[in-house]
Subunit: 361 residues, 2 copies
């Protein structure tokens, strides 16, 4: 099958978005889109290209003082009667339009059209972001070839609706367990009710006042929430066990250890087991390329509230931000779409930032 | 197969217990034991006999001023490597020894050996007590032939280890529901956490001071307990629903309506749905046959804390008590057994109570 990513398409980020959307690439089915992108990259003489699985890395070697990463995942969530793309007025509809083939299109368009950027650039087009973390192409590259990730600053072209989202919250989950003693409920005083004992843990959650933390002008709102509760043996038995799952979303001024210590303090007196943890990422707005990026976008950054792959860069000491044309509220929605104007704005902004000095618009 | 309930066996309640235990009669398999019992009953000229399914009713028609029911179920829980019976010293081991073929033996022994009781007697040997209520032989007879149950007093020969347990607690179950609004847990302030909202309901349960009520010298301890809790959507979603199942065991001075009103009061402000309700039974110790029965046993009655078929009689206005030789703590246990001495004591006590005036031991 001919590669739809032709030179004519590559020069137009809007056409390129449609062409990428129309290559179906639900997670674990990224081979074809990776093949098409690889073919494009290998024809560009200013880039050296590596492939790892269905993840592509392409970089300039211009000897610039600083290196910037532009990264986007090639996969999408499952189709939902929204393939291939359709255009209605100035909107492109289809699976992946927002999350995040319009972002990938910006990076691939730059790779094809900007041979002499003012910073050295590393492009990542990676697989399997939408599924279990162990398949994530950026994670796999980081494990196998950490040197490929080396940079002074990174931009993930995830949907942010044209604003800059800096850093990200950390997240951890714990199980808070209560125990008791079974008894027939007709003789309940012989037992100890483990569900009743969970009430005090819920009180602490209900009374919890989450912090709001401002770092480099970005405001992070924390949250400590029960996400699941389960207990009970039978309709006539005093339950001897209850399990409460709690999710803590924490500002990036806490590391994972500090965040866990805080949760253990909140649930002092309870049995608490950590089941899941991922660090946050500081916004990192002070690096020179970051400051220039913000100047090019011309807007103050906002805090990223979810967890994204920026944390992978942050954990390597590389400041990273999210910036993309898609609307994050439309990600994974059946009516997912992207505004054509925002794709063009995004391309212009990145060009303004990355074009050689003296040549910017 | 010959009927093992021979005249020689019927005169000895201990031998009769063993013979009944050795007719396997796990619930829904009561045909053979019912056939054997029916054959015995129909040979007794002082009894008129009716059968409904595998439930037998046999009654004297002596024109006595008062009528007493003696009742026992013929079925057992599933066998558990405890069939047929074995005897070790003064203990008979086997499925149903305690619950409740030793009790059935007392009634059948009396039916066979006491042609002229001082009260008119109605014997019930019924099927399917150990399974879902809709199969219960006493319930089925009550629905189809309520006049068969007519009496002034009833004794269920359920295991009580030789004490009299009077009346029984009522029981009801409700679902207490909380609702909220889903949101991504990274933006928890946009949601409302339904699990947190359940905390206050658990506080009320934890703080609840159950009544202890004494009626006719019997002490009933109430209990209001969570028996199940469930809530949660996913590890990253603020839950919009939580469901708490609560069981209220109430003293028989409350009727079902009053008990529900009390529970609704406790959970004022919450959505509460009644899912299950059964009335309690007052001890009813004032009827003449009841007073004479207690005198024959020679001990104060205790409150029955679980729910038993005595409530079926109570709901018809018939005072009812539990009294049997088995140990209730051994019911349904693999090492279920009964003390031979308690069978003999029970037979002597019932004889003392029911033999014609002037002939008691």
């Amino acid at each position: 099958m001919a590669n739809p990513l032709t030179p004519d398409v590559l020069v137009d980020p809007v056409e390129l978005t449609r062409a990428l959307v129309d290559i179906e690439s639900v997670s674990r089915n990224e081979k074809r889109i990776a093949d098409c992108v690889e073919e494009v990259l290998r024809q560009l003489p200013h880039l050296s290209v590596e492939r790892f699985g269905h993840t592509l890395m392409a970089r300039t070697e211009l000897g610039r003082a600083q290196r910037v990463v532009l990264a986007g995942h090639l996969d999408t969530v499952p189709l939902n009667d929204n393939f291939p793309s359709t255009v209605v007025d100035d909107l492109i509809y289809g699976c992946g339009t927002s999350d995040m083939k319009s972002g990938v299109a910006l990076a691939l368009h730059l790779a094809a059209t900007l041979p002499d950027p003012r910073f050295d650039l590393t492009y990542f087009f990676y697989e399997a972001e939408e599924i279990e973390g162990k398949y994530n192409g950026l994670k796999l590259v980081g494990d196998a070839h950490p040197e490929w990730l080396a940079a002074d600053f990174a931009v993930l072209l995830e949907p942010t609706y044209g604003v800059v989202e800096a850093g990200c919250q950390g997240t951890l989950r714990v199980l808070v367990r209560t125990t008791g003693r079974r008894a027939h409920s007709a003789r309940s005083w012989r037992g100890v009710n483990a569900i009743h004992a969970a009430g005090e843990a819920l009180n602490r959650l209900q009374a919890y006042a989450p912090r709001t933390v401002t770092i480099d002008g970005c405001t992070y709102r924390e949250g400590l929430n029960a996400v699941r509760i389960a207990g009970g043996v039978a309709g006539n038995v005093i339950p001897d066990a209850c399990e409460l799952e709690v999710n803590f979303r924490f500002a990036p001024d806490r590391d994972e250890k500090g965040a866990l210590e805080h949760v253990l303090e909140v649930f002092e007196g309870y049995e608490v087991e950590l089941t899941d943890s991922a660090p946050g990422a500081l916004p990192g707005l002070t690096a020179a390329p970051a400051r220039e990026f913000l100047a090019a976008v011309g807007a103050e950054p906002a805090a990223k509230l979810g967890w994204t792959d920026v944390a992978r860069f942050a954990s390597l000491g590389i400041p990273a931000m999210n910036y993309g044309p898609g609307d994050p509220l439309l990600a994974h929605a059946p009516d997912e779409h992207v505004e054509i104007g925002r794709i063009r704005d995004g391309a212009a902004t990145l060009h303004r930032w990355l074009a050689p000095e003296g040549t910017q618009d």
